[in-house]
Amino acid sequence: MATKKSGKEKNAKPVASGRKQRQKERQEPFVRPVTSHKRGSHKTKDKKLKATLKKLDNKYRDAVRSAAATEYLLPETSGYMEAETEMEKTFRVKQEEIKSNVDVSTANKALDLSLKEFGPYYTNYSRSGTHLLISGRKGHVASMDWRKGELRAELHLNESCYAATYLQNEQYFAIAQKKYTFIYDHEGVELHRMKQHIEARHLEFLPYHYLLATAGETGWLKYHDVSTGVLVSELRTKLGPTVSMKQNPWNAVMHLGHSNGTVTLWSPSMPQPLVKLLSGRGPINDLAVDRSGRYMVTVDTGKTMKIWDIRNFKELHVLENLPTPGMNVTISDTGVIGMGRGPQLILWKDALKTSREAKPCFGSMGGQKDRNTPYMTQLFGGNRINNMKFVPFEDILSVGHETGITHLIIPGAGEANYDAMEINPYETAKQRQEQEVRTLLNKLPADSITLDPNTLGTVSQQSSSIRLSAKQLHQVTLEKEEAIKKNADIPSVKPNVKGKNSGLRTYLRKRTQNVIDERKLRVQKQLAKEKEQRRRNNMIKSGEISADHKDIVDEALSRFS
């Protein structure tokens, strides 16, 4: 696929600039969003600063170049499935066919656990993908090293279980049960009953913040710090029971889907949602966010599927009038979208793009070219998908359904090259322990969760605009003084309105009675003036005095008031 793409571009671009263009493309994924210093460096007069900034820029450019150059060193290549002739369609390929075509070790990974009694099953994986956590709705929970086939813990809880997640590593896992959420250790010993998390139906663990987020029937989103045991924040969504929840792995913002078709984005430090967007006509059945934090896919009961660009909150693609509403959706590391509709499962590749050709569609579209036909499909006859999860660093989609767990081989779905300094699927016990300590030391504070994870360490451009220069400050004080002189800061004198409706009276009434300040004195004075004018108006109306009547004595004395 990759070779095909570059070939296409080679034809499009002139040959001379082709090399530079390719280099630029290669470096693009490593380019960080530019902060303000780059533009500022040309403005400053300070030579030393200019030199430092230039040095920094060069350093940064070097870093990008050398990071891009390491791509040659990556030991693994990602998988793919390609049609060789026009007549072949990848979505017609059956799992059996794939199994017979791939090597034995991969074929062995396609497990099929038949667990008929306690379904439907919920599957989840540890961050390294080595451990599988399953929980049946009727209380069957098991944690296992699925590659080695070693069972770590098996529990029969005799209670409804809705969601399960590993915490920082496979040593601990949390289960959302009928009423409370519980934490168990690797042997299945109950460690904590989290009594604040009532009727949770969705669990998400934020590994860099050590936060366990729960949401469910109560409509509250709760964040619990699992390293200190402190409930960090409780957020009331005010949108009824939460239907679906996923974390954005790029910025740790929680995406919640609600029954009125809205998706809300939350951070633990804000009592209101960061973003509220309407994504469907019915309840949001499921949503998924890709690992770069740019795209979100939602499916709702209104039979639509939407792909959002959550950098600018615009819809990329909308699929309306699906035959049946989508129930589950997930995105793999390489951007393969999987959508489950009851027994049916459809996967699309390369759909996270703006172009029209990227829009996912069903069937072969009459053999039309430039259409994003499904990458793969699967049917679980007489069954229903409960949840799906792409296994980290593997070409496997794990499907939890009514009668157990099934691993489907999806070539090209997984990230081939892991970073051992981040997550290591082959780590030893010692390395795991060290990694745990290291991540605890580098734990990020819960209130640092924002939409843009790179705000930290940048210069706040707002502050300089808030700060006033001496001249501006002088202007502001002058204006204030002027306003006081003209009594512009208190209600105006209105002799024509009825006495009780006077703004001045309301002002005095709302003020604390026994506090007398300069302003209040002015209001009182104005009020007296207003009353006097009103009295005069009344007298004119009743004909006691003429409109141009002047009380000489009063005028003479008024200068002393």
């Binding site: 490593f30 990848t90 791939v102 593997e394 970073d419 699927p425 082959y426 360490g457």
Partner: protein, 480 residues
């Protein structure tokens, strides 16, 4: 249909033997590293906190110190771990810094030891080490310190009388005034002494070669340049600094400041720059080619600066002050990066960097010679590669995030004695009132000249500098 999946064989990643290091493949794709900035910042914050936790600058004192205040310390430029100190009661001690014990201690002078220097190894006397001391008793004495083993010498008399023996008095020079300050030429056998006159001596002769005095006042300290070998500087009690060239056997420049200079130190990397310790609480950094202004002013002390010394790297200076503290400055910054003090340390009269720039030695009024780390958090033990890379990485992180408010606050925080804190407050009030007065004056007097901070301390120079740039800017101002 072409089908391929990820084929990751665990044989490639899991080590065969337990002793083997496991493979740690990297993938630098930013998508695999979320929160990189926030995590880096957290690491920087942790590193800064650790730095403060490990900041234990005081190592210990040398031996049991002196009976009287330590007023002179002489570095041995050829040896990392040896040091000579002299005290107010005339006792000179030669120290082993690694064991923190003394090699030898003897009463060298009647009255105070006013100057001390360990002579460099010069061509004619290879592998021979000598020490020169001078005092209030009008004598200069040349001592041999060839041997580390002074154990056979039992008493001061024996030491002084045993001629040509190890650790002995070799020669006495008699002068006609009390001496103050002595320094030896880097490559030949001449040395200079301060006092009522400034005299040039040769260790082969018994009488001074010449008298370089310019003006009639006392010379309090002399210092040879270690790179431009024939140049030296002196400071006098008439608030002057004088530069001399012994090739022409004459002084070359003299500047007078508002207050007295206590010590001079040449930059070991930039031969033409030197720093002086001044009575007006500041240290000044001068370029000997243009002394119409200071290159930098080092502020922060709240009492007279008694001594100053350059780090052998040439980018840091250490100052000791009468306010009982030691401060370390970067030469390109105006305020100190570090302050050292102890409860028992009195007025600091001497501070010296060790020749590897890792330690600082201080001599104070209370008679103790203290050893400090120049980087308070650094440890000198042998480090594993892992440890070293971690430290280097942390240093880089701290540098990168040093302007973040939290990190800046933590890294700048120092416990300062109450007395100094109070004195700083008072000094700030005084300075701000002076500034205010000047501003007020300037408001009424339009032509009042603006004197930059780096020129304020200068009263005058003997040879004037053609300050083209300055006059030009003045003209421009006049045009406006």
């Amino acid at each position: 249909m072409k089908i391929k999946t990820i084929k990751r064989s665990s044989d490639d990643y899991v080590p065969v033997k337990s002793t083997q290091e496991s493979q740690l493949p990297r993938n630098l794709n930013p998508e695999l590293h979320p929160f990189e900035r926030a995590r880096e910042y957290t690491k920087a914050l942790n590193a800064t906190k650790l730095e403060r936790m490990f900041a234990k600058p005081f190592i210990g004192q040398l031996g049991y110190g002196h009976r009287d205040g330590v007023y002179v310390i002489a570095k041995n430029y050829n040896n990392l771990n040896k040091l000579a100190t002299g005290s107010g009661d005339g006792v000179i001690k030669y120290w082993n810094m690694s064991t923190r014990e003394e090699y030898v201690s003897f009463k060298g002078h009647y009255g105070m030891v006013a100057g001390l220097c360990v002579t460099p190894q010069i061509q004619t006397l290879k592998n021979q080490n000598f020490m020169l001391s001078c005092g209030d008793d009008k004598t200069i004495k040349l001592w041999s310190i060839n041997n580390d083993d002074f154990s056979n010498i039992k008493s001061d008399e024996e030491l002084i009388t045993s001629i040509n023996g190890s650790g002995a008095l070799i020669k006495t020079f008699y002068g006609d005034h009390a001496f103050q300050g002595i320094d030896h030429h880097r490559s030949n056998s001449t040395f200079v002494t301060g006092g009522a006159q400034i005299q040039l001596w040769d260790s082969q002769r018994s009488k001074p070669l010449s008298n370089l005095s310019w003006g009639a006042d006392n010379i309090t300290s002399v210092k040879f340049n270690q790179n431009e070998l024939d140049i030296f500087a002196s400071s006098g009690s008439d608030n002057s600094i004088v530069l001399y060239d012994i090739r022409t056997n004459s002084p070359t420049q003299k500047i007078v400041q508002t207050m007295r200079t206590n010590a001079i130190c040449w930059n070991p990397m930039e031969a033409f720059n030197f720093v002086i310790a001044n009575e007006d609480h500041n240290a000044y950094y001068y370029d000997m080619r243009n002394m119409s202004r200071a290159l930098n002013v080092f502020k922060d002390h709240v009492s007279a600066v008694m001594d100053v010394d350059f780090s052998p790297t040439g980018d840091e200076i250490v100052t000791g002050s009468y306010d009982k503290t030691i401060r370390i400055y970067k030469t390109n910054q105006g305020h100190s990066r570090e302050i050292y003090h102890t409860k028992r340390m009195q007025h600091v009269f001497q501070v010296k960097y060790s020749m590897d720039s890792k330690y600082i030695v201080s001599g104070s009024d209370d008679g103790n010679v203290r050893l400090w780390r120049s980087q308070a958090w650094e440890r000198s033990n042998v480090k594993t590669t892992k440890e070293r890379t971690k430290l280097e990485y942390d240093a880089k992180l701290k540098e990168r995030y040093k302007f973040m408010p939290e990190i800046r606050r933590i890294s700048r925080h120092r416990h300062v004695p109450k007395v100094i804190k109070k004195a700083q407050e008072i000094k700030n009030i005084e300075l701000s009132s002076i500034k205010r007065r000047e501003m007020n004056e300037r408001r009424t007097r339009k032509n009042k000249e603006f004197v930059p901070e780096r020129k304020k301390q200068i009263v005058g120079t003997v040879f004037k500098y053609d300050d083209k740039k300055h006059t030009k800017s003045n003209n421009e101002n006049n045009d406006n």
